[in-house]
Amino acid sequence: MRRARGFAQLVLLLLAGVSRVAAEDRPSVVIDPGQARNYGVAVQRFATASAAANPGRVDAFREQIVRGLEFSSVFRSIDPKAFLGPETTVSIDDSDSVLCGDWRSIGADALVEGTLRTDAGQFIVEFRAWDTTRCSMLLRKRYAQPAQADVAPLARRIADDIVAAFIGVRGVSATEIAFVSTRGGSQEIFVMNADGSNARAATANRSINTFPNWSPSGESILYTSYRYANRPLLFVSTRGRGKPGRVLAKLGNRAGIYRGVFAPTGPRLALVMSEGEAAEIFSVNLDGGNLKRLTNNRVIDVSPSWSPDASRIAFVSDRSGSPQVYVMNADGSDQRRLTFQGSYNTNPAWSPDGRWIVYETRLEGQFDLWLIDPTGSTNVPLVSHPRNDEAPTWAPNGRKLAFSSTRRGRADIYVIDLSGDNLLRLTENAGSNTNPSWGPFPR
């Protein structure tokens, strides 16, 4: 009997061998991810039309693109010294083909080429990004800006576009992070590029300023300041683009306004305010109109964070006897406790895709960062360290987070991938750096 079955199998195998077998009749090979996490990218020096172009500027432009691509965690740059193809773009005319084999053989999965020129007071950059494996152009784009404007943000923007062309998620190297720093003696709001470069002050009132929060457009930064009469009030810094100053004028002189957070979809703020004994959460228009109380009890309710569609708000309350993360509808209804693990959970931040809420949890006397989904069914660690990791904020693409940590003693700002990879310190040796707020994509 067994022999008969074996014979039948042999016949079947022979039959399979002689007749053409369709793929669907064969078993599939299942492939799961290996080690490779980033694409090799070759970025050429962009060609310049005029010989008078400053070579240093051209090199700097390339370097900014490379930095932006590497910050994405999606690409690693290939040293131009290894190029078999030209180091400088020859032409980006569509009639000219790219020798993809030359780029593939040095490990470049992607090739970036482009041109720079100045025309009628405009700095014009045009570039192409290639998938060398399939030798297909993934992206071709042109940017123009006033000739005297800084070109570095433009280069980073190009890098972010290329990231989007490869993985469908825009890079964030052209975004900015606001934070609080004591580097100048007083406690001011600063802004830096998302990779930590070019930190500069956004306030200079020699007072105490804290809780920066970007408007959805990126035009202004809301912050709490003690600059008047020793009382916390909200202000906006527009960094020169509009009239800065106090907001919520219609609220008059309320006792204490501790923190404001812009709704992601509109001009409304979530507000932490104390009129009586305990701080409560309100929602309000930027001018102070249409004030609505969302929490109403004798305990503290603080740290509001909007869901991306602004329909819900995560917040912290100690109504259970210890600070815990809660969620509620934006009108204050349906308040539910979200965290049950640990005796001190605070500073929730809702991810831009709505899937996660990152928060601080105190374990063994110090704060770590954990992720919980809005239903509370998944609760996992993101960052843990023997010292405090605090005040998490999401990159607008939802793939990175910034936070402050005292792991080196004084507080510094760090970024990390959502996967837990690529921890990077952004601030260094300059006072205490805390409360990061990651800005939106540039317009």
């Binding site: 077998v21 793929a23 009749d25 064969r26 078993p27 599939s28 090979v29 299942v30 080690q35 996490r37 980033n38 490379v66 930095r67 590497e70 965690s73 999965d109 405009q122 998938d131 784009k141 042109r142 006033p146 923007r157 989007a164 490869f166 998620v169 406690q187 802004v191 002050a201 009132n205 020699r206 007072s207 105490i208 804290t210 600059r227 960094r239 020169g240 104390s274 004994e277 701080a279 503290i300 603080v302 895709d353 709505g354 992720l371 989904d373 660690p381 993101l382 360290h385 080196r408 760090y414 991938d417 959502l418 837990g420 990879d421 690529n422 990077l424 952004l426 601030t427 409360n435 540039p442």
Partner: protein, 250 residues
């Protein structure tokens, strides 16, 4: 009252309040010096307007699907955890420089209780080393994958020749498949079919049989199989199919 608030506010608010109280004298001094009243306290940072012109963007990069995919992902039950790692840095050692070029991930301290992700990477390295040595590595996810592979869809038993090739092909393709952090551990799955000659070279274009819902992930899959050509020689020339799974093992 201030004390009451200080005891029951959130950690960061508490610290802010403490800072407020301790620094109030400073603030008063600042006020007295009229420094705090300076309306010109904002730093001017003009930014030139940028004109954008999208000259060309071929289909894959233009596909509007990600919005739909993202929506679907939002509606879907919460995905498995995004492999959060316990980032344990050596105390007081120099962390990476802020330049992205020096994005060297600080090495986690070796932990006896390493989590699945770490183990998987380790076995990954092992299998790759074995592959280089010409060995057939036992695949880290062998149980699942063998279960998927054993027994063809028509119920025929799978030949040893297929199993041997499958292992080699898997290792080879994994080395050529770049999976950026964004895609790892997401519920993405793409099935493709390729025509292989007897030597393992891909003939013609790979065909996507089942899309993942994320066109960029599908793109990466096609890119990887093309980059992997020639594959190890298959048991016989003809059409073979591959399933690329981003969240296998989680």
């Amino acid at each position: 009252m201030g004390r009451f608030i200080a005891t029951s506010l959130g950690a960061s608010e508490q610290r802010e309040l403490r800072r407020l109280l301790t620094a109030s004298a400073l603030v008063h001094l600042a006020l007295a010096l009229f420094l705090g009243f300076s309306p010109g306290g904002e730093i001017v940072m003009p930014l030139g307007a940028i004109a954008v012109e999208l000259v060309a963007m071929p289909a894959p990069a233009q596909a509007p699907a990600p919005a739909a995919a993202a929506k679907a992902a939002r509606l879907a039950p919460p995905p498995p955890p995004p492999a959060p790692k316990q980032v344990v840095l050596p105390k007081e050692t120099a962390p990476p420089k802020p330049e992205p070029k020096a994005v060297t991930k600080p090495k986690p301290e070796p932990q006896p209780s390493s989590e699945p992700a770490t183990e998987r990477e380790y076995s990954d390295v092992l299998s790759e080393l074995r592959a280089e040595a010409g060995d057939e590595a036992p695949s880290p996810a062998a149980p699942t994958q063998t279960a998927a592979a054993v027994g063809s869809p028509t119920g025929q038993p799978v030949s040893p020749a297929f199993l041997a090739w499958e292992r080699k092909a898997r290792i080879h393709i994994r080395q050529n498949w770049v999976v950026p952090p964004s895609f790892r551990n997401e519920p993405l799955r793409t099935s493709i079919t390729v025509e292989l000659d007897a030597g393992g070279t891909i003939l013609g274009e790979p065909r996507i049989v089942k899309r993942s819902g994320n066109p960029w992930y599908d793109d990466g899959v096609v890119r990887s199989i093309q980059k992997a050509s020639p594959l190890p020689a298959p048991p016989e020339a003809g059409e073979w199919s591959f399933v690329f799974v981003a969240d296998e093992g989680f």
